[in-house]
């Protein structure tokens, strides 16, 4: 039995790929700039407690690149439309990196749309004096190495064969990532002014050895969202859901349980 089901829906003229797994309250997962190239172990674990919905963003993976996708705000409005189209009532949304940025941009535009927000090392803010890493300048190897604390994971990722279909998707994802995040590099200067509009409970998860978005960025989020809960993860890079899935799943589960009456 496959770990997930795969389908395409058409929304705003764009054919969008999404995967689903598990049963339970819905959890909408918004992926990072690398896309969902494999069914991560974290998905298996989350699917034990949630109806997990994992779309490829417009422009990424097996989704179309619609002409209306011009900037991060377009991605934000698109996700508000998707939540309506999928009839998700105030879902728990979990976004990592670029996906966390999209989730926050959507939440400030419609503060009532989300039930809870789990943001894993989200992009979107700047910290003056602490530049982010530059995934557009790094070589592929530098980029992969910078994503992980545990370099053994990076070694395995670099050694893994890349079939041609995946290579094509990696280029497509990189183009879509640049479309949304090239300038300003990985942030929207307007976002911090409006983060206070987020009314849903927020949990922020951050690897203490994040070389792309250093942990100082977590403090910037906490400053704008003082009621949020911050979970730092020791010995972990930019992808806690890949590098430390058990801790992330536990955090998501316990955060979700707080919503139960």
């Amino acid at each position: 039995m496959p770990a997930y089901t795969s389908e395409h829906i058409t929304l705003l003229g764009a054919r969008i790929h999404l995967r689903r797994a598990g049963k339970g309250p819905p959890l909408l997962f918004l992926h990072g700039a690398g896309g969902v190239n494999v069914w991560f172990p974290v998905f298996e674990k989350l699917a034990q407690s949630f109806e997990l919905i994992v779309p490829d963003h417009p422009g990424f993976g097996d989704s179309d690149t619609p002409p209306w996708l011009r900037n991060i705000g377009d991605a934000a409005y698109y996700y508000l439309e998707l939540i309506e189209a999928l009839k998700l009532a105030k879902p728990h949304v979990m976004g990592t990196s670029l996906g966390g940025w999209m989730a926050a941009e959507a939440a400030v535009r419609d503060s009532g749309a989300f039930g809870r927000l789990t943001l894993v090392a989200p992009a979107g803010l700047r910290v003056v004096g602490v530049p982010s890493g530059d995934p557009f300048l790094w070589s592929h190897e530098e980029h992969v190495r910078a994503l992980y604390h545990d370099q053994a994971i990076a070694e395995r990722a670099l050694a893994a064969p890349v079939p041609p279909e995946l290579a094509d998707i990696q280029i497509k994802n990189r183009f879509a990532f640049a479309r949304l995040a090239w300038q300003p590099r990985l942030f929207n200067p307007d976002l911090e002014r409006w983060l206070h509009r987020i009314k849903a409970p927020v949990q922020i998860i951050w690897g203490n050895d994040d070389k792309l978005l250093p942990v100082a960025y977590a403090q910037a989020w906490m400053k704008q969202l003082p009621k949020a809960r911050l979970l730092p993860i020791a010995n972990c890079g930019h992808l806690p859901h890949v590098e430390r899935p058990d801790e992330v799943v536990n955090a998501v589960n316990s955060f979700a349980r707080e919503a139960q009456p």
């Binding site: 557009f136 300048l137 070589s139 280029i171 990189r174 183009f175 990532f177 640049a178 090239w182 300038q183």
Partner: protein
Amino acid sequence: MKFYAFHLMPYRHLDMAEANKYRSYWSVLPNRLYDPAKGADLYQEYIDQLVLAAKLGYDGVCVNEHHQTAYGLMPAPNLIASILIDRTRGMATKIPIIGRALPLLNNPLTVAEEYAMLDNLSHGRVVAGFVRGIGCEYHASGTNPIYSHERFHEAHDLIIRAWTEPGPFEYEGEHYNFRYVNTWPRTVQRPHPPVWIPSQGSAETIDWASAPERKYPFIITFSPIDSVIRFHDLYKQAARQQGYEAKGEQLGWAVPVYVAETDEIAIREATPHIEALFNNYLYMPLEMVLPPGYTSIKSMKAIIANKKGMTTTKQTMKDILEKGTFVVGSPATVRAKIEEAHARSGLKVMVPMVQFGTLPDAMTRKSIELFAKEVMPKVRGLGEGAAVKSAAE
């Protein structure tokens, strides 16, 4: 055939051993490696070289734009063009700026204005080059490369309208919006200065530049000679498909050139300097030279698959000679190479880059002079009065 001396004005005094510790001579190369005392003298040296070329009878002297790099010290090429205009006052020398990188600009009207000023200052000797900039310049400027083509075309259209339509008028575009477009001064050349499109030969650019309403000369830069010929053939085919025959005046070849007394001397003298150009000054890793969107996804896949792109691979003088990315030798050899290129494509616009990499002043001046005296007069008549050779022949 016409000859336009071209200069990048590189920082040739660079401590290359130190510079080679960085991933490229572009954007990430610390500017502490630039010594203003040496650089100030270099500007004078390079301007004098171009003025020498003008006096020796080159049809034009060309400048161009690059940013944050030792490869070329002209982030504002119009400043140098303005000096060259005055230093060639009363002469017929054309001043091609090849070119301004339009997508990098937030206000393309500044180019309409500055080129119009230069056209007035020169009494109509300016050639307006338009380019998209090198991939790395999207890092340098922050411009999103995804929108490179859109911004290029929009800025181009806006500038041409600013030169040709009575102002004031409004302009509403996707990237640029102006309530008032009303360029003062107007250009001397009517309807506007000639436009050149330097390119490395993308199919989209060939179709666009060759369109009957533009017929822009297409200057193939830094490409192996077989590619130059192939792109010229594609341009001629595109013109024919659009209902006309391209002329040799529309076909340009920009290439480093070095002439010395004999082939042996020329190759010996040029080798370290041309290798410095291709392997050091021009070297950029893929992430810098091809940011996402600078090319289409399809072209990007092809480039990665072929691992081609000369800016990402090191080459020796032997490779450079085999590819024909450099024209070097005695006057007779250089003449023969130009005659051969002309015979193959019918090109009539030759843009010799007279200085390259670390080439010192004395060698540069010698080569400029030998080319003017021993090469140009014997090849100038090529193609005059003759029809362009058909690509199908």
